[in-house]
């Protein structure tokens, strides 16, 4: 699955590889579904000595959503990077960098070795930075620089935690670590370090400052991917560590994460409402949506985890669609100022539909994927009697509704000003729409991904919730 790293610069090849990876993921999915969690020892050495790959329901789901989103982005990019305003010299680098990013994501979701995860994190971070900088403007470069520094800082914190864990337990494999783990000062410090490093990369509330600029200034398909998956990758590692390695009874810490998540929902929502540029709005919306993921920590129950994961999945799909729609609008009108979004509906019905459908999922209206996720979270919150979480989830939904309707409202407003417009390739519109529909469909087929999550369930210990 890693053999597609060669920097061939042909678009067709990119698409072929994309299809190949999707097929591989599907095959793996079938295997996992049939046979349960899979473990693959690279080099045949087995866990303590070599590096194991590990695929259970959680990683499979991540891989699948990864495959869907990446396939979408690949198709979209064939259109996007064709445009005249992208110098060809830049555009040719998109594909190899993009393949690296994708490979890093796949490797990350499959790895079960904490040092290997560090290397994949770096691979992911560097390729993401290079992709952000591809946009080439002053904003993009500055935010890419900041993003790079943040990434490196986060990785070093993580690596220091890895060092402590290794020297305490003499192993790097997650499964082996989880069997040996016991609370001790070193473990606590390692946990603190790794958590702060990963949360920095996940952009949880006080550490979110780098995200909006980086995500908004990148080329549209790249922003889509950054918001949809790259931040989730570090969240995924965090979740793995939290559920499998660290002593889970640290409820104070969980509460803290929950509070930060709650603040993130509010802060992101309010900021999103205040933005005048569409891409910034969507980026802040990501900050808010990431907050939901952390609401599960204070509850730490079966439903809560499932809800958070479900939000993660549907947000990945919906946010990709949104950024693509934003890219279309940007391309169409040459700007993304929300106030000047007239006629968009007339000229780009597909894009507007995509944006609206994705918005439904972000707001959490039925029958979308976002609704199911929020419903599960709500149920968990009510079950555990944490009413403040209920209020926050509902408020967050209202805020999301407010900023999304703001955009849609402007898009429907007629004005007589004439604009310079350019034609948008039809496949760019369709990919956005299809992904948005997928986000909605996710709600309708909810039992299926929920069942997949149960394979090799990492959070079965708390299934009582």
């Amino acid at each position: 699955m890693l053999s597609f790293l060669l920097p061939q610069r042909v678009k067709l090849l990119g698409l072929l590889i994309a299809a190949g990876v999707v097929a591989a993921v599907a095959a793996l999915g079938w295997q996992v579904a049939e046979l349960g969690a899979q473990r693959y020892a690279i080099g045949g050495w087995g866990a303590p000595l070599g590096i194991d790959l590990y695929a259970d329901g959680l990683s499979l789901l991540m891989l699948m959503v990864n495959a869907v989103v990446c396939l979408g982005v690949s198709v979209y990019s064939t259109g996007y990077f064709n445009r005249a305003y992208f110098r060809r010299s830049r555009a040719i680098y998109f594909w190899p960098l993009w393949m690296f990013l994708w490979a890093a994501l796949n490797a990350l979701f499959l790895s079960s070795d904490i040092f290997n995860l560090y290397v994949t994190l770096e691979l992911l971070g560097l390729s993401a930075v290079a992709l952000v900088a591809l946009a080439g403007g002053a904003d993009a470069l500055t935010s890419a620089m900041r993003y790079l520094l943040i990434n490196l800082l986060g990785s070093l914190f993580y690596l220091l935690g890895v060092a402590l864990l290794y020297h305490r337990f003499g192993s790097l494999d997650i499964t082996i670590l989880s069997q040996h783990i016991e609370p001790s000062p070193a473990v606590w410090v390692a946990m603190g370090l790794m958590t702060s490093g990963l949360l920095l990369k996940t952009a949880l509330f006080p550490m979110h400052f780098w995200l909006p600029a980086a995500h908004a200034s990148a080329p549209a398909p790249v922003s889509a991917l950054l918001s949809a998956l790259v931040v989730k990758a570090s969240f995924y590692i965090f979740l793995r560590l939290w559920l499998e390695i660290f002593p889970v009874d640290s409820s104070v810490f969980g509460e803290l994460l929950g509070v930060l998540g709650a603040i993130a929902i509010f802060w992101g929502g309010v900021q999103a409402l205040r933005q005048t540029r569409l891409k910034m709005l969507i980026a802040y919306s990501t900050v808010a949506q990431l907050g939901y993921l952390f609401l599960a920590f204070p509850m730490a129950s079966y439903f809560a985890w499932k809800g958070a994961l479900f939000i993660l999945l549907s947000h990945a799909l919906a946010k990709t669609a949104m950024f693509m729609a934003a890219g279309n609008i940007l391309h169409f009108g040459g700007h993304d100022r929300i106030q000047d979004f007239d006629h968009v509906v007339q000229y780009q019905p597909l894009t507007s539909a995509a944006f609206a459908l994705a918005g439904i999922s972000i707001m959490g209206l039925p029958p979308s994927g976002g609704f199911i996720g929020k419903w599960l979270l709500l149920e968990a919150a009510i079950n555990s009697g944490q009413w403040w979480l209920v209020i926050i989830i509902i408020m967050g939904g209202l805020l999301a509704a407010a900023y999304i309707f703001k955009v849609i409202g402007y898009a429907f407003t007629q004005s007589r000003k004439s604009h310079q417009t350019r034609r948008v390739p039809i496949r760019m519109e369709w990919t956005a729409l299809i992904l948005a529909i997928a986000a909605i469909l996710l709600g309708l087929i909810a039992p299926w991904p929920l069942a997949i999550m149960d394979i090799g369930l990492p959070f079965s210990g708390e299934a009582a919730g």
């Binding site: 080099g43 960098l97 410090v189």
Partner: protein, 332 residues
């Protein structure tokens, strides 16, 4: 170090040496970060790297020492210096802004408010005390893994345990690491045209030096590669020496013939990774696991992979030094 208690003088000397080295390291690190002149800071950083290499030797990690000296101090230093030169070349071209830029090149401590400075200090102190506490209370680990490494060393095909870990047991890490290197180059290239540094013609001495040194460096790279299987050394060390040779060549003003800049260069760049991956994949078809080298040919296989890797790493590092894709240079 209790094993040495029979020689109290020796232990004392060693303790003294280690303490001195440790403090020198901290001091150099501090100076490198606080020195008002950037050039000086970089030079101090290079000295810091060399000192690190000595520390690695003290810690019985000769492989790391070689890597640190060649990559950590040497190449990183060269990269930093060339960047500085490019930044300053930029300055010179905009003479009107020169004064302004001068300021930017100097240390610019963000004036923190006292309150936030205090907060920062408190947080850092917490961090330090937490870390120190954690380290000091760290129990002795179990040495199962180390035992496993030495037990499996024979079937790994090499007798240097570090090489065995790097290329066999944890070869997947190394594969990804080489991808990181290649990715970095790709990223650097994708940034497009980069201002040229102020280039001066190399004098006769530098020319002479490079003529003498480059063959030597290439031999050394080969030597590292060869001994890597049973003594300190290996692909990364060899590759970085090769990279150093490349840097020297570039310094002398040697440029690749246009003919080689396009596809051939790219092929060399991906060669190492390509061999690595294809060796791993071919083994799948031979009915083994991904990257499972059969013990009988493991040694040869590792050497082959390492040779390819050395070449690619060397060229990649040299190309990183050049900053910007070679093709762009001829348009200027």
């Amino acid at each position: 170090m209790e094993a040495m208690t029979s020689l109290p003088l020796m232990t004392l000397m060693q303790l003294l040496f280690d303490t001195l080295l440790g403090f020198a390291l901290l001091w150099l690190g501090w100076r490198a970060l606080a020195s008002p002149d950037l050039f000086q800071a970089i030079v101090l950083f290079i000295a810091f790297g060399l000192l690190m290499a000595i520390v690695w030797v003290r810690l019985d990690a000769p492989d790391v020492a070689l890597a640190e000296a060649a990559i950590g101090a040497g190449l990183t230093g060269a990269l930093l210096l060339t960047t500085l030169a490019r930044l300053e070349a930029k300055n010179r071209s905009k003479s009107a802004l020169e004064k302004k830029h001068k300021v930017w090149l100097m240390t610019e401590n963000v004036k923190l408010k006292t309150a936030s400075f205090l907060w920062l200090m408190v947080i850092l102190m917490l961090l330090v005390s937490g870390l120190v506490y954690a380290v000091l209370t760290l129990q002795e680990q179990t040495f199962e893994l180390q035992m496993l490494v030495s037990k499996n060393l024979e079937s790994s095909g090499v007798s240097n345990p570090v090489t065995a870990v790097l290329l066999n047991f944890r070869g997947y890490d190394t594969l990804l690491e080489m991808s990181v290197l290649l990715l970095a180059l790709l990223g650097v290239w994708s940034f497009g045209g980069i201002p040229k540094p102020h280039e001066s013609l190399p004098g006769p001495v530098l020319n002479m030096l490079s003529r003498l040194l480059i063959p030597l460096l290439i031999i050394v790279a080969g030597y590292f590669l060869w001994v890597g299987s049973d003594a300190p050394g290996g692909a990364f060390q060899g590759g970085s020496v090769l990279g150093a040779a490349g840097v020297l060549l570039l310094l002398v003003g040697w440029r690749l013939c246009i003919r080689f800049v396009g596809l051939p260069l790219r092929i060399i760049l991906v060669f190492g990774l390509g061999v690595f991956v294809s060796a791993a994949v071919v083994l799948i078809f031979l009915g083994r696991q991904f990257m499972e080298y059969p013990p009988s040919v493991a040694g040869a296989l590792i050497l082959l992979i390492e040779a390819a890797a050395t070449l690619s790493i060397g060229i990649t590092l040299a190309a990183l030094f050049l900053v910007g894709r070679p093709e762009f240079r001829r348009h200027k």
